[in-house]
Amino acid sequence: MAERGSQETRQRRSARVAHLARRELAAWLTLIAIIAVAFAVTAFFVGRYRSKRAALAREWYARGLAALQSGRAPAAEAAFRNALAYQPGSFDATFALAQSLAAEHRLAEAQSYFLALWQEAPQSGPVNINLARLAASQNRTQDVIRYYHNAIFGLWSAQGAEQSLRARHELISYLLDHGQENQADSELLAEIQSLPPTAAAHLEAGRQFLAAGDPTHALAQFREVLRRDPDNGGALAGAGEAAYQQGSYGLAHRYLARAAVRLPGDPAVAQRLATVAAVLDADPLAYHLSRAERRSRIRRDLATAQARLAACAARLQSTNSQPSPLAPLLARSQALTGAGLRRLWRDPNAIPNVLSFVFAVEEQTARSCGPPTGDDLALLLLAHARELTSP
């Protein structure tokens, strides 16, 4: 009897334990189910919120771009900051914000944003070109060159070749503005490898070569333009200038004469043409001259040089008590007057000797009394041309 009672008690206890275990399991399963539902609800809620943020970011970004394009940089800045608040770390919005800060001349802030973008994408062409422009505005030449080079070889989302070329062009302009002609010339030599086949591109390259002091490559570029557009006034003027800088005054005259026709109102062309004409007119060694004409030119050149020497000596004497550097030339000049000059013409080396004196006078007076003009300038150019062509 007692054993039966004990068995019943045990059965009741087992049933109770099973009931408790089922209830506990149900409670756990309910908890897990609630968490799963909460997870789904949260995911939906967060998804909606993200969509809203993305829409707001787009809206503010568009507003910022519109403001930036219409020149309202402060409004653009505020709009881009809002866009960034809804899409933190957005490359485009950060880039645009930095651009608007730069437009507001808040260069340090703009630079910090561009540098943050550079950390993220050091190969980005747009970021590098903007950093280069900021560095250029602060005259940090090393950074300018580094960032422009990064931009030239960087990644561009569209029109990569054109953007790259533009970056190099800006770099060349910067170098030319800062007196670094040699480096600019080497950049130009690299640039012409990738120039687009247009007259405008070659014309610009030719001008930059001229500014870099490389008339040879400049002339080649202008000729490239003229091959495509033979009547291009700019190219004719540039070619004339390049030939002039090379000392090829005949060639320069031909280009400049054509340029003067195409660009009748251009005073620089007219002035250069006049100078070149004067040089050609003063040159006693030109091939086509008769003996009389050659002598006539030499006489005229000598007279011009002597007048310049006398004027310069008088100027120096009035301003300076030091021994004049013109004294030896004045002595020689004295010897080339009257009987001395007549004796000289009997000498077979008369022409070279007179010319040597004329050129020496023009060079020395240019050093002592400043750059010459008119016929003296023509004689000085002839002197330089002879230096260039003499062995």
């Binding site: 206890r13 109770r16 334990v17 408790l20 275990a21 209830r23 506990e24 409670a27 756990w28 309910t30 908890l31 897990i32 609630i34 968490i35 909460a38 997870f39 609800v41 949260t42 995911a43 809620f45 967060v46 919120y49 809203k52 943020r53 707001l56 809206e59 503010w60 505020a78 900051r81 809002n82 608040a85 809804y86 933190p88 802030e109 910090s112």
Partner: protein, 579 residues
């Protein structure tokens, strides 16, 4: 684990050897508790994600989508929302006011871990409305309470024991805070430092698990980026540490000013008639809105502007103005009884103070001080240590939210100085102050940390009584003991036992006086104490023994004894915890 499972285990126990059954049941409970900690972490993490998203959504709807709201809207929107908050607090959720930290502590120490679900809902709604409408309050403390409340709800639904329910609140609190800050280590430390008050192996594992799981959930939904993007930090030269000392001093006094203002203003606000109190959140909203018309940076939690301060986007003069205005706005919002936390404003004030001090130093001493960003970062920790008085949390939190470890040295210096200044001129920490103003008697964790712990060596006396050997005859031992009631016996292997004189006398009367103490089994083994152990170890170990031997840890030689009388005398004589 639960009462039901424990009951089931105990009911099954008769079929098993009882000790094994108890052990297995205990292990199962432990495992289930850890699993529950993970589930609570996930639940709290989900709630905090929704809370943060709700705040942002409300901000957009209430103040507009621009981060610099339209001035006209600032005039009416925060005040109008303040009225809604007051209505909710007065008529629907009266328990949802305040920051949340003290309410969680009250739940833990007064209400056996019970936090009503209505309080959780109320806190969620009212704090989201308050922060979303631009009140200068933070989401972290409410997140802590929401997490604790959800944990409490789960515990109640699972019918956990009262003891387990009390353990669950800190789990939820840590989970809520970790998800809000995206900083599990700081959350665990804060809950241990400020809520639980002691390191206990039993709870630490579960707290860590819940904090980590909630952080994972928060990162899943909101991304794993640190709260702030921190600029590169580099200590230029050792002299720069002096600059951080200056920051510590200024940050300390700024913290002091904030706590004093809250301490002065809050009771006055609470003393107003109930009808007037109804309009306090609206009034606070109006004032903060007015400040926000010129300086929108002081509104809301303000984390986006901390980022700008870290990257030196403000002049130091602007930062100084912002620090002062944020301090004022937070005081107004907080003392008005509007639900919301102090964590975020504390950090923002710190960033502005740090940035201003750093900017000033960099401007006037550029060779000594680096850019102001690093100072803004250290400033956050400084005011956290100075205002909230959780020094350990302040250091780890800055490291965690910034992801930068190089800042530790200046952070330690600056935090400790601010903590010291705040403690010197404001002996009661802000959470304890709020508790006392609310008429509650909760344990002060700062006081607890500073309680003097008595050690065995404080009560130990030199052994002057004779010591018997197990080989001594009972009669000889009795003679040596004289009129002493207890005889200490030193065994051959350095083990100790003791015998009551009355027991020896009884053995002697039975004619066993000629036998040795060992033969008669007269001694009872005694545990030994070491001088460095807490004095309370005596009570745990002594059992019926009137005294215990104190021995050297290295060679086991006897250094002295401690008796119950010595222990009581020592406790009565000690000045413990300022008692």
């Amino acid at each position: 684990m639960s009462t039901s499972s424990a009951a089931a285990a105990s009911r099954l126990a008769p079929a098993w050897p009882s000790r094994l059954a108890r052990r297995l049941a205990a292990k199962r409970e432990e495992r289930l508790f850890l699993f529950l900690a993970i589930l609570i972490g996930i639940l709290a993490g989900l709630a905090v994600v929704c809370f943060r998203v709700t705040i942002e959504w409300l901000r957009i709807d209430v103040l507009g989508s621009s981060i610099t709201p339209a001035p006209l809207r600032l005039l009416w929107a925060p005040a109008a929302v303040g009225l809604v908050i007051a209505a909710l607090l007065f008529f629907c959720f009266p328990g949802a006011g305040g920051s949340g930290v003290n309410q969680t502590k009250a739940a833990l120490y007064i209400f056996d871990g019970h936090i009503p679900f209505s309080t959780v809902v109320g806190k969620f709604l009212t704090a989201a409305l308050a922060i979303g409408s631009g009140q200068s309050l933070g989401p972290e403390d409410p997140s802590l309470q929401v997490g604790a409340g959800l944990a409490s709800l789960v515990g109640r639904k699972l019918r956990l024991s009262r003891a387990r329910l009390r353990l669950l609140a800190p789990l939820g609190a840590a989970a809520g805070l970790a998800a809000a800050f995206n900083a599990p280590i700081a959350a665990v430390l804060f809950v241990i430092e400020e809520v639980v008050g002691q390191w206990s192996v039993g709870i630490l594992g579960a707290v860590v698990l819940s904090a980590v799981s909630s952080t994972v959930v928060a990162r899943w939904f909101l991304g794993g980026e640190p709260l702030f993007r921190v600029p590169e930090f580099e200590l230029r030269n050792p002299l720069e540490l002096a600059a951080y000392v200056v920051l510590g001093v200024i940050g300390g006094f700024a913290s002091l000013l904030f706590v004093k203002l809250v301490a002065w203003l809050r009771p006055r606000a609470h003393a107003l008639p109930r009808r007037a109190q109804f309009f306090l959140p609206a009034g606070a909203g109006l004032l903060v809105g007015l400040i926000g018309m010129r300086y929108p940076q002081v509104m809301g939690a303000g984390y986006e502007f901390v980022d700008q301060a870290l990257h030196a986007h403000f002049l130091w003069t602007t930062l100084a103005i912002l620090a002062a205005l944020k301090l004022l706005a937070t005081t107004i919002s907080f003392t008005s009884g509007t639900p919301g936390g102090m964590f975020a404003p504390t950090l923002v004030i710190g960033a502005m103070v740090g940035g201003a001090v750093g900017g000033f130093e960099h401007h006037f001493f550029p060779r000594v001080a680096a850019a102001s960003g690093a100072y803004a970062l250290v400033g956050m920790g400084t005011t956290f240590a100075g205002i909230l008085r959780a020094p350990l949390t302040s250091v780890f939190m800055i490291i965690e939210v910034s992801g930068s470890y190089t800042v530790v040295l200046p952070l330690l210096i600056s935090n400790l100085i601010a903590y010291f200044i705040s403690r010197t001129w404001q002996p009661i920490a802000i959470f304890d102050l709020l508790t006392r103003q609310d008429g509650l008697d909760l344990p002060s964790m700062e006081e607890r940390r500073e309680e003097e712990v008595l050690h065995v060596e404080d009560a130990m006396k030199p052994m002057t009584d004779p010591i018997a050997r197990p080989s001594d005859r009972i009669a000889d031992a009795l003679a040596a003991a004289g009129d002493r009631a207890f005889l200490l016996i030193e065994g051959p292997d350095g083990n100790w036992s003791g015998a009551l004189a009355s027991r020896l006398q009884e053995l002697a009367r039975q004619g066993e006086g000629g036998r040795t103490l060992a033969e008669a089994g007269a001694g009872h083994p005694l545990p030994v104490l070491h001088p460095d152990e807490p004095l309370e170890m005596f009570l745990r170990e002594a059992g019926d023994a009137p005294l215990l031997p104190v021995v050297h840890r290295a060679d086991g030689r006897l250094l002295g004894i401690v008796s119950l009388a010595d222990l009581l005398t020592t406790y009565r004589g000690a000045d413990i915890g300022g008692a």
